[in-house]
Every structure is written in structure tokens, then in C-alpha cells.
């Protein structure tokens, strides 16, 4: 009891300057076990601490408090407390104990899910991420949790801001896999198929030593999304995908590969029978909706192909060639595609004719010039970054050691070892 009170006093005292905070951290680390031992009685002490000033101490107490099993009623109060804490805490202080912070936030997520109100967790989690990140390129363990909450609460737009950032630094590969997978699902929900493809591609081609379930599920969705977006599925994973993935992923996703094959044959009837036959498998993977979208994208693909060969075509002909049932259906499809901007055409209802037009984009407007210019700028920065990483890598002593061992030896000097340390 005394130790806890003493600790509270110390927290209150040492939370002002940076050096104090560091010494406070040491104290807290030592006192961690005793805090956990008294976890049930720590709740009243939390009121004595102010999260906006004593963030580090509050964090330790909070973490010890929530360590045990939580009932539904307790969850409600905890959720409020943690949310308040997250919004008001000081970023620098909590960055000193990131693991604790992550644990607390994860428990927060669990409790929110326990209460079945994921929406409550979305905003606090976003703040938490922003506070924990060292830079916008940093992927923390909280990213996938956040996306999970967005998914469960169907609040896709909130996830948008996180997804738009480029991620370059990763703490744990598992976080990346989950992040990209959930991100892919959110993008699919918002029909940003290009982004979804990018995220799922990252999962599938990430270096991995053994096949994991996330990669398998991601691959299934990857095939479906690339059918919808590109009209063809990747036959082989690129060379840079890990060998483990290349060998095993295809075998584990057999029904999807066959679906992709029958898609490429172009016969709608075939693909529909195949989907009917394997409905259960798709349903058990929760992919049935996506499969149906893929099938309907086939009509679009066929109509787009027609724009390449025909200038005008009657609706009846379109219906015949694309294997639709009636000209009315064809008209609806074409209308939808014109609205979505997927083709350029005009429908003449009197004759029942569709006239296909060229893409009116002339690449002469100011907006286009700005777009191109900004793209160039963005790519130049990216290129510089790439060069920077390359230079950094070529100075890395481990790399030099390995490269030095395997280099060509043309001269007597080449047989010396690569100097590991530059000693003058």
C-alpha cells in the first residue's frame, strides 16, 4: 500500500522535465511487478493522477489495472478511461514505454469488442496510432487493430487516411501482414480495387519463411480482385516472392485458380456453373460476394473488348456477343459503364444502337499538366529515397562482410579479408 502511494507521489513529482521522466521510468520499471500484484486495488489511485501530465505513470498503472480478466460492466468504465487517456496523453512520454502502450490499446480493443460497439474504438485508436508513430512511414502494432475496428464497425472512411500513407518501416512482419490484409478488405469495401490489389500484393510477395494463413487468405482475395480490376489473374507470382509462397500458395487456393482459368475462357455460363458448384467453399471463406463481383465484371470486360473492334453496334448484337439475355439488359450494363466512366459511348434508343467514342482526354488541360508535374515530383523524391537506402545498405558492415567474401579475386590484395572496422 505504502509503496503504491509512494509511487503515486513520485509520479506526480517527476513528470515535468525530460530527465526526471527518464528516472521515473526506471523507478516504474522496477516497481512494475509490485503494481501487477496489487492490480485490483489500483483503480482509486488512478484518479489522483492526471493523464495529460503524468502520462507515463498513468500508463503503468492503467496497464497493471487492466491486466486481469474484465467483466462487461467493468469494460464499460475501462473503455471510457482508456479513451480519455489516449486523447490526452503526452506522446513523448508514452513513447518511452511503447510495449505497455500497445498492450493497453489492445486491451482497449478487446473491451470495445466485448461491448460490441467497435465504433467507439475507432477514433481513439486513430489518435493512439498518431501518438505512437515515430513518423508517418512507421507501421506500429496498432495499425492492424485500428483497421480491424474500422472493418467491424463498417467505418471504412476512417481507415482511408491510414491507408493512404506509405509504409516503409515495420516492427513486426505479422503486423504488416494483418495490416495489408485488413487494408485490402477495407479497400474492397470501398471499391478501391487498385489500392486493394497493391496491399494484397504486398502480403503475398512479402518475404516469409513458412506459409501463413494470412498469406493464404490474402492470395484468395488477390486473385479475385485482380480478376475484377485487370480482367486477368496472375498466373505466377513474381520472382521476388518468397520461394515458399511460390510453391505452396497455389496448392492451397485451388478453387480460386480454377475460377480464374474459367474466367479467362470468357464463357459466362461456364463460370456461373462453376460458382454454383463450389458455392460452399467460397462461402466458408466469406468470399462469395467478391466472387459474384468477379463474375459480373466479366460482362464489363467483354463489352470493353467490343469497343476495340466496333464503332457502332446494335444492342441486340451486344446482348448476343456478351451472352446477356436481352437488349434491355445490355442497355442497362452499358449505361452503368458509361456512368462509371469505364467506357465512352452514346446510346441511340430510337435505333437501338450504341456508338462507341474515343477517350475524350486530350492531355491538354492545366489539370493534366499539374497532375503530370506532381507525379514527376513524387517520383523524384521516391527515387532519391531509394538511392539513400541503397547507399545506406552498401555501407552496412554485415553486407560488406558477405559481399567481400563472395567477390571476384583478381589480385593478391583481393585475398585479404574485408576490413570490418576502420582502424587508423
Amino acid at each position: 500500500m505504502n509503496s503504491v502511494e509512494g509511487l503515486v507521489n513520485q509520479i506526480q513529482g517527476l513528470s515535468t522535465t525530460a530527465s526526471d521522466v527518464l528516472s521515473l521510468q526506471n523507478l516504474l520499471k522496477q516497481a512494475d511487478d509490485s503494481l501487477h500484484a496489487e492490480s485490483t486495488r489500483l483503480l482509486p489511485f488512478l484518479d489522483q493522477l492526471d493523464p495529460s501530465k503524468h502520462s507515463l505513470g498513468y500508463l503503468y498503472f492503467l496497464e497493471a489495472c487492466t491486466a486481469g480478466p474484465v467483466t462487461k460492466e467493468q469494460a464499460g468504465s475501462y473503455v471510457l478511461m482508456i479513451a480519455r487517456f489516449i486523447t490526452s496523453c503526452i506522446a513523448e512520454q508514452i513513447r518511452l514505454a511503447p510495449d505497455k502502450f500497445i498492450t493497453v490499446c489492445k486491451r482497449f480493443k478487446d473491451q470495445v469488442l466485448l461491448l460490441e460497439e467497435p465504433l467507439r474504438g475507432v477514433a481513439p485508436m486513430l489518435t493512439a496510432i498518431r501518438k505512437l508513430q515515430s513518423s508517418s512511414e512507421h507501421l506500429t502494432a496498432l495499425h492492424p487493430e485500428f483497421l480491424l475496428l474500422c472493418l467491424l464497425s463498417r467505418c471504412y472512411k476512417a481507415g482511408l487516411s491510414i491507408l493512404e500513407e506509405d509504409v516503409f518501416e515495420v516492427d513486426q512482419p505479422r503486423d504488416l501482414f494483418l495490416f495489408c490484409y485488413y487494408g485490402g478488405m477495407i479497400s474492397i469495401g470501398k471499391k478501391w480495387f487498385r489500392k486493394a490489389l497493391e496491399l494484397l500484393h504486398n502480403v503475398v510477395t512479402a518475404p516469409m519463411s513458412t506459409v501463413n494463413a494470412i498469406a493464404v487468405e490474402a492470395f484468395k482475395k488477390y486473385i479475385l480482385v485482380s480478376l475484377i480490376h485487370h480482367g486477368q489473374s496472375p498466373t505466377n507470382l513474381p520472382k521476388y516472392a518468397s520461394s515458399v509462397a511460390q510453391r505452396n500458395l497455389k496448392n492451397l487456393c485451388q478453387p480460386y485458380i480454377e475460377l480464374a482459368n474459367s474466367y479467362s475462357n470468357g464463357k459466362i455460363a461456364d463460370i456461373e456453373t462453376y460458382v454454383e458448384a463450389n458455392k460452399d467453399k467460397f462461402e466458408s471463406d466469406n468470399n462469395l460476394g467478391l466472387v459474384k463481383q468477379a463474375v459480373s465484371s466479366m460482362y464489363k470486360r467483354n463489352i470493353q473488348r467490343l469497343t476495340q473492334t466496333y464503332l457502332t453496334l446494335s444492342l441486340q448484337d451486344i446482348a448476343n456477343r456478351v451472352q446477356l439475355n436481352s437488349p434491355k439488359e445490355a442497355e442497362m450494363h452499358v449505361l452503368q459503364m458509361i456512368k462509371d466512366g469505364e467506357i465512352y459511348a452514346t446510346i441511340n434508343q430510337k435505333d437501338g444502337m450504341v456508338r462507341f467514342l474515343e477517350d475524350p482526354e486530350q492531355y491538354k488541360t492545366c489539370e493534366m499538366i499539374e497532375h503530370i508535374d506532381s507525379s514527376i515530383q513524387r517520383l523524384m523524391t521516391l527515387s532519391k529515397k531509394l538511392n539513400g537506402v541503397d547507399e545506406l545498405m552498401s555501407c552496412d558492415p554485415l553486407y560488406l562482410l558477405k559481399a567481400g567474401r563472395e567477390r571476384q579475386r583478381f589480385d593478391f590484395d583481393d585475398f585479404d579479408n574485408v576490413p570490418q572496422r576502420f582502424n587508423i
Binding site: 506509405d166 509504409v167 516503409f168 518501416e169 515495420v170 516492427d171 512482419p173 504488416l176 497493391e198 500484393h201 504486398n202 510477395t205 512479402a206 518475404p207 519463411s209 521476388y240 473488348r305 476495340q308 473492334t309 466496333y310 464503332l311 457502332t312 453496334l313 446494335s314 448484337d317 435505333d351 444502337m353 462507341f356 474515343e358 477517350d359 482526354e361 486530350q362 492531355y363 493534366m368 497532375h371 503530370i372 507525379s375 514527376i376 513524387r378 517520383l379 521516391l382 527515387s383 529515397k385 531509394l386 537506402v389 545498405m393 554485415l398
Partner: protein, 453 residues
């Protein structure tokens, strides 16, 4: 045949006009067959089997007759072909083929054309005797180590096997002579025999290798041999579906070929194969230079005036008559052993080229007129054009409402912009993914390194 009325007058002119040296001894040795040899045989009319068979000699004659019998549906022609095959076989020593032909005849030609068991037994006995004799002779030569005699011994063996239909053994024997060839003439002889057997066996890979081997000994090559080698090479390319190369080879065959290669190919065949392959695979300039203006090849084309006409029609854009000639020739071409499985492909290619050539000079084409020119319906034409456009062989778009084909030239400027933006996006994506993967790898490597320590 109608030609016999004009026989005395036209015989002289035809013989000189075609420039074919001499007239071979035809098996039935009558003037009528000689005249027939100078008349078009591969034509739109029904194949005259006797005339056709008279072009060839040796084993290929029999094989062609059997092929004819198997593939034509006219039973009269069938029986005629089988009868001639029977007669020809009786003159030779191939009892295996003889039995096959008898089976095919099935007694339909009467008692004269049934299994002659005594003849078979006699031939087989003689064969065994000859084989033993050859073997003993060869052994004797081998012990004496006289190169020339050993070579002749193997050669004789090769001839013997070939006559008896054991093609594999014949090939092996001919190839064995290689070690004992002293002069380039010997080498040429060996190559020619090997080529002959390979063609009969259908192994055209060997044909190509032996042709190149023979062509590497230039001293002993006289023009007929060169022509023979070119024909063989052309056949090999044809079988390998390399129509352009086959056409080039056939077009290089000089008129010295004459009838000297009747064990393999007739000059009519050279003209037909060469003409059709050239039409299917050459572009306009090549067609003009190598076929139409080719004086040597013109002699061959005279033998098959329909092929000559159809090539000229194609070049002068009379597509309807060109395609009509092709249609007429088809039934006879399907009865030829070398080209029958290539007829469909060649015809498709020629037709596509005709369609492409028709649309090439125009900005807009009325599809009704085009359908007339090609003697097809507008709907069928539309389908054909659609597949050609999808294959990117014609740059055009179809106005299905007014049935007009409009040439469409892609706007290079827009296309360039589109490509630029797309490349930029791809670069962006690739580099970002790469940096991410590098980071993961570094992390994993660090993990492993720290574990090791």
C-alpha cells in the same frame, strides 16, 4: 482424254515450250501418257490417277497410290489406285506392302488381284538367299579391309532393305557407308540415299541434317543434285510448318530438276507447294520478286496453270477468282501425301492475307461490296474481320449499323501520354513495394543475426 485429238500438233509445241528436258520412259510407254505428262495434272478437275502416278517412280508411287485409295471417297478411283498399286508392287520385292494392298482390295477387283501366295513365297525365298549372299560378301570385304568394296557392300544392303520395305535397316546401312566414303561423290550418294529413306519414313529432321551435309561438299554438286537437295529441304520445312522457308527453298529449285527426282517429288509438286507457301507467307514485294518475276520458277508454274493464275489474281487483287481457284484445287490437294494436313492452315492464311490486303489502302470500306468481292455474306465477313481486328492484323473499327469498316489510326500523342502515366504509376508501386520488402528482409536478417549472437 481430249488431248489426244490435238496430239500431233500440240505435242511438239508443248515439249519445247515447257523446257523440260527429254521425256522419261513411262511405265506404260505410250504417246498418250507422254502427252498427259505435259498437261496440267493437279487441276480443278478430278484427278487422273494414271497420269498422276506416272509422275512418280519407286516406292513413293506406291505410297501415294495407297494414300489416294485411303482418302478419296470415290470407290471407282479407289479401286483404280489400288489396282495400279498392285501392279507396281508385283514388279518389286516388297511383300509386306503387297499383302496390305491385297487386304485393302478385298477381292473387289476379281481373281487376278488377290493374294498371290506363291509369288510372295518365291520373293521371300529369293530375298533370304540374296541377303545371305550380301552378308557373306560384306564379311569378305570387311576382312580384306577394302574401303570401296565395303562401302558398296553396305550400299547394296541399303538398297536391298529399301526394296523390301525395311526402311529403318535401310537407313542404318546407308549411314554405315559414311565411314567408308572416300570421294565427295560418295558422300553425295550417301546423303541422297539417306534423304530418300528419311522422307519415306517421315523423319524430316534427318532430311535437314543430310541436306546440309551434302551442301557442304560443293565440288561434286551438279545442278540436278542441287535442285534435288533444295526440294528435299523444302519438303522438310513444309512438314515443320515453316512455310516461308519452304517457299524460299522451292522457289530456288532450278529447271534442271526435270523428272530426275521422281522417286520423291514431281515438278508439278514443286510448283504447287512453292506457290501456295509463298502466297501464304510472303509479303507483296517478296511475292513479286521471287515468284512472279522468277524466270526459273515460271517454268514450273506452267505445269500447274491454275496455281499460276491464282497467284496472279491475288497480286492483282482479283480475290474472288483467286479464292475460287483455291476452292477447286482443294479436293485434289487433300489427296497429296505431303500437303494434305497443311491445306487448311495455308488456305486460312491466304484468305486472311487477302482480307488484310483488301482493306489496307482504304480509309473506309463498304462491307457489302467487300462481301461481294469475297463471295461471302456480310455477317460472315463481319465475323472474320472482327477476329482479324482483335488479333491486331487490321487497324480498323466496324460500324455495324451502316456496315462500313473505318480505318483507325491510333493517336500517338494520347497513347504516349497514357503510357507515360502508366509507367509512372508502375514505378511508384514497384519501388514502394520494394522498399517495404527490403525493410522486412533487413528486420528478419537482424533478428537472425541477433539470435546467433
Amino acid at each position: 482424254m481430249d488431248g489426244e485429238d490435238d496430239a500431233p500438233k500440240s505435242l511438239m509445241e508443248e515439249m519445247y515450250a515447257n523446257g523440260i528436258e527429254g521425256v522419261d520412259d513411262a511405265p506404260s510407254s505410250s504417246t498418250s501418257t507422254t502427252i498427259r505428262k505435259n498437261r496440267p495434272i493437279i487441276s480443278g478437275e478430278q484427278l487422273d490417277i494414271e497420269a498422276y502416278a506416272a509422275l512418280y517412280s519407286g516406292r513413293t508411287k506406291i505410297m501415294r497410290l495407297i494414300f489416294l485409295a485411303d482418302h478419296c471417297d470415290n470407290s471407282g478411283m479407289q479401286l483404280e489406285a489400288l489396282r495400279m498399286a498392285y501392279d507396281e508392287l508385283k514388279k518389286g520385292e516388297n511383300t509386306q506392302l503387297f499383302r496390305e494392298v491385297v487386304q485393302k482390295i478385298d477381292g473387289r477387283l476379281g481373281p487376278n488381284y488377290s493374294t498371290d501366295a506363291t509369288w510372295c513365297a518365291m520373293v521371300d525365298r529369293k530375298a533370304d538367299q540374296r541377303k545371305d549372299k550380301l552378308e557373306s560378301e560384306l564379311n569378305a570385304y570387311r576382312t580384306n579391309l577394302i574401303k570401296e568394296s565395303i562401302r558398296m557392300g553396305y550400299n547394296d544392303f541399303g538398297d536391298f532393305y529399301y526394296a523390301h520395305g525395311a526402311l529403318g535397316d535401310a537407313f542404318k546401312s546407308y549411314v554405315r557407308t559414311r565411314d567408308y566414303c572416300t570421294t565427295s561423290k560418295h558422300i553425295i550418294q550417301m546423303c541422297l540415299s539417306a534423304i530418300l529413306v528419311s522422307i519415306e519414313m517421315g523423319q524430316f529432321a534427318h532430311v535437314t541434317s543430310y541436306v546440309s551435309k551434302a551442301e557442304q561438299t560443293p565440288e561434286a554438286l551438279d545442278p540436278p543434285t542441287i535442285a534435288k537437295l533444295r526440294c528435299a529441304a523444302g519438303l522438310a520445312h513444309l512438314e515443320a510448318k515453316k512455310y516461308k522457308l519452304a517457299a524460299r527453298k522451292f522457289l530456288e529449285v532450278g529447271p534442271e530438276l526435270g523428272n530426275s527426282y521422281s522417286e520423291v517429288i514431281a515438278p508439278q509438286d514443286v510448283a504447287t507447294y512453292g506457290g501456295l507457301c509463298a502466297l501464304a507467307s510472303f509479303d507483296r514485294t517478296e511475292l513479286k520478286n521471287k515468284v512472279i518475276d522468277n524466270i526459273n520458277f515460271r517454268n514450273f508454274l506452267e505445269l500447274v496453270p491454275e496455281v499460276r493464275e491464282l497467284i496472279n489474281d491475288f497480286y492483282s487483287s482479283h480475290y474472288a477468282s483467286c479464292l475460287e481457284y483455291l476452292g477447286n484445287l482443294k479436293s485434289n490437294l487433300m489427296l497429296d501425301i505431303h500437303i494434305h494436313d497443311h491445306v487448311e492452315t495455308l488456305y486460312d492464311q491466304i484468305r486472311s492475307k487477302a482480307l488484310i490486303q483488301y482493306t489496307h489502302p482504304f480509309v473506309s470500306v463498304d462491307m457489302r461490296m467487300m462481301a461481294d468481292a469475297f463471295k461471302t455474306s456480310v455477317a460472315g465477313l463481319e465475323k472474320e474481320l472482327e477476329s482479324l481486328i482483335t488479333d491486331n492484323q487490321i487497324q480498323a473499327r466496324i460500324d455495324s449499323h451502316n456496315k462500313i469498316l473505318y480505318a483507325r489510326h491510333a493517336d500517338q500523342r494520347n497513347a504516349t501520354f497514357q503510357r507515360v502515366l502508366q509507367t509512372g504509376n508502375e514505378f511508384d508501386w514497384d519501388v514502394r513495394a520494394m522498399l517495404l520488402r527490403a525493410n522486412l528482409l533487413k528486420h528478419e536478417y537482424n533478428l537472425r543475426a541477433s539470435r546467433k549472437i
